[in-house]
Symmetry: C2
């Protein structure tokens, strides 16, 4: 008998009708003689409504009260799901996080789950009950309610799967899986059947909205197979796994691209130890995310050129911060907007030489100029002009046989 | 230093603006050097919205899930109030009922509070904090969330006042106190400054919407002085108390009236022991509330006439139930709609003879026909035609010097 954890996202339970449909999915797993546990997010829109209420109460709303406030969203959806399952004749009940309890560590609104009490829950599941558990939340040592950040319901499901020793964790959402590249931008994108944790981590970090990087990390650390599926259409999803069984010998698994990046070059920086830290410290303090960084070799051991990328909306703020930074001296600042980062991802590149060459050749065949390059073990990213991004994705998708 | 429990009803916290105003009221008490604890209902409308959701999920929604669902309403309002108090510089935090905990006994949706854990709470209040506690709810022995019925937030406040040994419990609501009679129906109605528990119990049972009878009973049993005030207008409210200090020597405290009663007379019932029970059993099973009952003395020891009143909307159902009741035999059934019950209430009547006479004389002076009479120690009720009810209230209000 398999144990499965089913997680439903906000749009999946976004209305009374959707909740009824979700209960049919749960019933399907139950009728196949599985042991089933359900984790649910708040109905879509509800959390935003609560957040807006907190904003109109205070522009600096207390974080502990914020968690108490927004955590009601999952309590509502879980009670409704359990109520519907009971209506349909199943044994079911809701579990609010404090009832298990789900203990968390760390600050309000961005806590992390440290343990889940499953004693009562396991017994309930064994006797055929379907528990419906509030995602996204827990309680701290002081018994106050904490939340684990947006998309935290995925983390709840994955860590619950670990504690329950579940065979599978299935994340139902509004997309039907992970694609080789964004299907809205490129028609020939294909759904990926299986993807390694590390690849998914890169995809998530590089803009794939399917899962948060931290949730992928949770799955990887706990070695939980996660399947991402749509609750709207019937089709198989994408399995995120560490297992090497029945993987295709695809070298590149996916291609991701960002929109609206900007590039800054500081020309003629006086080179001395710690200069990069001096430049980036004020940016970090102002929550500006620096992505790709390239430093030219000092030509005379005295001066260097430093190039880095940021999100375009941070450009003005970044310019100001650099200009008022007294701890650095340089000759010139140059800026470039309207850029995109295109990345190819795949564990296959570790064992396959020549991937970088094939990537650059493919891009150059379409006369696409590469502005910055950044690589990791399983990823190569290039910065190109935003006007070239579709062309770049298309040529790479074809080059690496993803079409 | 006084300890006060402030309770705010749904309309008092019905919007973000209202919550801000309520926080000004709380600040007022705090600045007067009181120790303050707050109990809040859900924002008005929110509970109904949640109830509607449960109804669209199932026409027989599970009671335990129902309580889990609707109890989120108070969690939201309490987090917002505490958040606002913090914004204004006060030390404050919300307490969800399970965090204290508030333990209840009895079935879901109509549980009663059995105990409140105040250890942490008392310390918090002593160090100047303002706790904001969810009304209307608690947890059972199984740690599942229970609710204590509509208007249960009053009960939470009153029982919290008992456990905290508070000096006063102030119920803020959308009316500014208890009136001698309904001010919408009779312009000369006056606000009552002080009223005894027993009088308030009768007023509540007889249709005054200010407080639920069970809450008045809780206050009486625990000897808690309760003040009912408006959170919308600044004015003194009504004190509900058992203390005899500084009471006026008014004989009658208030007059209440119902709308839309009906009267049924069963003529020529075969009189035998248990006949009344045989008649009323099926009505009780169908949740039809029988109010005044008059049985004529058996004229020949064999037959009797039985008259009783019910709400007019139950008339058809009652007629059907009597007609299909095989355990009784009678000659005739008669019905009368469009009736009202007018009651005078006051502990003064215990020690003052002749009140009944004065009531009947006053009514007869206006040619108002009395159909049924029912009395208790501190109340006399008469059934009159609904068209006479305003006239009856007016003449009685004047007769007993309430104008």
């Amino acid at each position: 008998m398999k144990t499965v954890v089913l997680k439903f996202g906000g749009t999946s339970v976004g209305s009374i009708d959707r909740i009824k449909k979700v209960c049919k999915i749960i019933a399907f797993y139950k009728k196949k003689k599985n042991r089933v546990a359900v984790v649910s997010s708040a109905m879509s829109g509800v959390t935003n409504e609560l957040v807006n209420k907190s904003k109109s109460i205070s522009n600096n709303f207390d974080k502990a009260e914020y968690d108490t406030l927004v955590s009601t969203g999952e309590q509502v959806s879980c009670a409704l799901i359990a109520g519907r399952l009971k209506h349909e004749g199943f044994k079911s009940r809701s579990w609010v996080s404090w009832q298990l309890p789900i203990f968390t560590e760390g600050p309000h609104s961005s806590a992390r789950i440290s343990s889940i009490g499953i004693k009562e829950l396991s017994g309930y599941i064994k006797t055929g009950g379907i528990p419906v558990i509030t995602g996204f939340q827990g309680i701290g040592k002081d018994l106050r309610i904490t939340t684990i950040g947006r998309s935290g319901s995925d983390a709840t499901a994955i860590i619950l799967a670990k504690f329950l020793k579940a065979d599978e964790c299935i994340i139902y959402t509004d997309v039907d899986g992970v694609y080789t590249t964004d299907p809205r931008d490129y028609k020939k994108a294909r759904k990926i059947k299986k993807i390694f944790y590390d690849e998914m981590l890169e995809m998530a970090s590089l803009g794939s909205k399917v899962m948060q990087p931290t949730s992928v990390q949770d799955a990887k650390l706990n070695n939980i197979d996660v399947e991402v599926k749509s609750s709207f259409v019937k089709s198989s999803g994408t399995l995120i796994t560490g297992s090497k069984k029945s993987f295709s010998n695809q070298i590149i698994t996916g291609i991701s691209s960002t929109k609206n990046d900007a590039k800054i070059t500081i020309v003629g920086v006086k080179d001395k130890p710690g200069i990069a830290a001096s430049i980036f410290r004020p940016l970090s303090k102002n929550l500006i995310n620096v992505d790709m960084v390239v430093q030219n070799i000092s030509q005379n051991g005295k001066e260097t050129d430093l190039t880095f990328t940021i999100r375009a909306e941070d450009l003005k703020k970044t310019e100001k911060l650099i200009k008022k930074n007294k701890s650095i001296s340089y000759k010139e600042l140059s800026f470039d907007k309207g850029l995109s980062k295109v990345s190819i991802i795949g564990v296959g590149m570790i064992t396959t030489p020549g991937i970088t060459y094939r990537m650059f050749k493919a891009l150059s065949s379409k006369k696409i100029n590469i502005l910055v390059i950044s690589t990791s073990e399983i990823k190569i990213s290039v910065l190109v002009s935003a006007k070239n991004v579709k062309k770049a994705v298309a040529v790479l998708h074809k080059e690496f046989k993803l079409d």
